[in-house]
Symmetry: C2
Subunit: 409 residues, 2 copies
């Protein structure tokens, strides 16, 4: 009996054509964050389970994460999110680190639940965090990065909207309404579901014992942030007073980016301020703003709007070998051309020339060169453009420059 060739349930194999899309996403994430001076960090997939239990609760960690006990009796999780980990890392070196800190990472994260569209058991997530600035300009910076990222993926402003709210505004408004802590908590939970349920008004009125009207005006903080973002040309921003975002650890501004497509009115990603998280590990408070952007939804958005670019072929120049003894010469020439910057495959199969050319076409190599006795003697080769079928005879030492010019456009 042969073993099954399927991947494990709910995760993905990335064949080269799939991996190119992942790589494109990783490259854009990285280039954009580096343009804002953010530095990349990483952690292990394996993390002490304890740090996720504090905020999410024992039950959720046991049920929704991959968690097990190792031989040393340590409870270990496959990281389900990065924020508690980066908080741990910051706390670990709090004394030596110089704040403000601008960091990003692109970890794979794990969740242990039934796989469904858009929710896999393993996904990658860009994590962006700014630590050590408690003023509104930090929120402006982080939200402007969120916008810059989507624009770097060539998503135009009409395709997405950034919704913004403030946990302080929610708390202040509920407190002004005279609600006690318990009622406020219930209303907040309900607000989070407002757009998904029909009987919000009814349920809310039940909680507070009178009619519930939710029409807070944006506070000074929200107004400032929206104005600053608009001055940076970010017009697709909206005050969303009913938006709560589930995570317990947010303490101020929260934001969420939505696809504006009629059929795809989905949340793409979001984030906010979480000033208390580092106190899980440390007595000193460190203000923090950040967000996470997952690869699965993003890839879906890019595919919906046909924004996945065409990728370069893995080979710039394919060397076909006219007769097996010339494989050595082909290898020597390839070595020189590689050192000059070309991506080169030498055909070492010993197959017929026609089959070698077919393979070059299959690999979408823009150019091919055949090497045999004549080429070795004259030190000249014919470079053939496989698309235009044009040929050019060149000295061996002129080939790399010629191909590079054409490949780089």
């Amino acid at each position: 009996m042969k073993i099954s060739t399927d991947a494990y349930k709910g995760v993905r194999d990335f064949y080269p054509d799939d991996y190119k899309i992942q790589e494109y996403i990783f490259d854009v994430w990285k280039d954009t964050l580096q343009s804002f001076g953010y530095e990349q960090y990483d952690s292990s997939v394996l993390e002490n389970a304890e740090i996720f239990k504090q905020k999410s609760g024992e039950e959720i960690v046991n049920e929704q994460t991959y968690t097990f006990t190792d031989k040393g009796d340590r409870e270990v999780s496959l990281r389900p999110e990065m924020t508690p980990i980066v908080a741990r890392m910051i706390a670990h070196k709090q004394k030596e680190l110089s704040f403000p800190i601008r960091w990003f990472s692109m970890p794979n994260l794990f969740r242990y639940e039934r796989p469904q569209k858009g929710r896999l058991r393993e996904h990658w997530q860009l994590n962006v965090d700014l630590f050590g600035v408690d003023n509104k300009n930090a929120d402006v910076e982080v939200i402007s990065i969120a916008s810059a990222l989507l624009k770097s993926f060539r998503l135009t402003d009409d395709k997405f909207v950034i919704k913004i709210n403030d946990r302080d505004l929610i708390n202040d408004t509920l407190s002004e309404m005279g609600l006690d802590e318990k009622q406020a908590k219930k209303i907040t939970k309900l607000l989070d579901k407002k757009n998904k349920i029909n009987n919000f008004d009814e349920l809310a009125s039940e909680i507070i014992g009178r009619d519930f009207v939710w029409k807070p005006e944006p506070n000074e903080k929200i107004t400032f942030i929206m104005n600053e973002l608009k001055s940076l040309g970010i017009e697709n921003i909206e005050f969303a007073p009913e938006m709560v975002r589930g995570f317990d650890y947010y303490t101020g501004i929260i934001f969420e980016v939505f696809d504006t497509g009629k059929e795809n009115n989905r949340s793409i990603f979001g984030g906010g301020r979480y000033d208390d998280l580092i106190s899980m590990f440390s007595n000193e408070k460190v203000p923090a703003v950040g967000f996470g952007m997952g690869d699965v939804t993003l890839r879906d958005v890019l595919e919906t709007y046909d924004l996945v670019p065409e990728f370069q072929a893995p080979v710039d120049l394919y060397i076909c070998v006219l007769d097996e003894p010339f494989i050595r010469a082909a290898n020597i020439i390839a070595k020189v051309w590689r050192e000059e910057g070309l991506h080169i495959v030498v055909d070492i199969t010993g197959k017929k020339v026609g089959d070698q050319i077919k393979k070059a076409i299959k690999l979408k190599s823009p150019f091919i060169v055949c090497i045999g006795e004549n080429e070795v003697t004259t030190k000249k080769v014919v470079v053939k453009n496989l698309e235009t079928r044009k040929e050019k005879k060149l000295k061996i030492e002129k080939v790399a420059e010629f191909v590079l010019k054409s490949v780089l456009g």
Copy 2:
């Protein structure tokens, strides 16, 4: 009680300065493999445990890998090695794929044993494989990539030696000596330890019942491969008749790269031909040659020979803001400069100018610009080189070009 900030036992946190070394290693791996026309692929960290059991045995998998049973009663492992996974992926699409296939990946791998120097519970490994070519030139190509990789890390030929042997030569020689299968297997296992034990001759003679002399001559295959590699300028290659390499799945040429340093006479990495592995999954045989190179040993080698390069600062130009209301103007200018290719941090702390400059120096930013009323009115800024302390007054639209020229050298 605060939660511990330590990482899980036997794994690493990568703070930005550590991550830069990882990134350097990943970049060199990738650039080198792409120059040979190899395409990147990946799989999930989670893999059905079964595929590792076939070759390594149930016991080893249970004891030395992270393996557990999920809610769906599937036995799942954190991938301990990539070779069985890539074999599975090839078998899964064997009909659609066009051979030969040149693939590489850079997975993190997991082993479940007591961490020790050079052996962590999570490490990264470059995996290089050439599928579908059963001739000697495939072995030549793969070994020449192994050499090219170390040279790309600026390791000169005198620092390492490539040892080569052939499983066929071992088997043929033992068979010519008249050994039965059981004896041959025992001798092979013993050969693998030859350089680590004192009483090899004694033990070997015991197995075969007479004096054991091991002096095979290189066969035609080994001679061909060594000659081809020498023609490519790879002189640091040695025939090593006692080398076996532990893995069961090798079927032909095997090679291993050693550090030649007197105090560090260690194995850096190795590989070989494994023509039978894909038959775990498929009825069709697919010849394969490949190797894996781990990040932990490599990093150690680079550090030993002082070959870790200096890294670029995360910031090209730091913007200090003279007065808080000008943060907006600074953000607008930064946006333009970023679009022109610069990595820029705007100081949004509202701190004194002296403190802002200190932060720029801490980040090793090569340049700083201060923005206030005067700069906004005149549309000119003073660009200061923080190393030479030289200053230059420039129109805002000329700054990016000036800084880029200097940063790119």
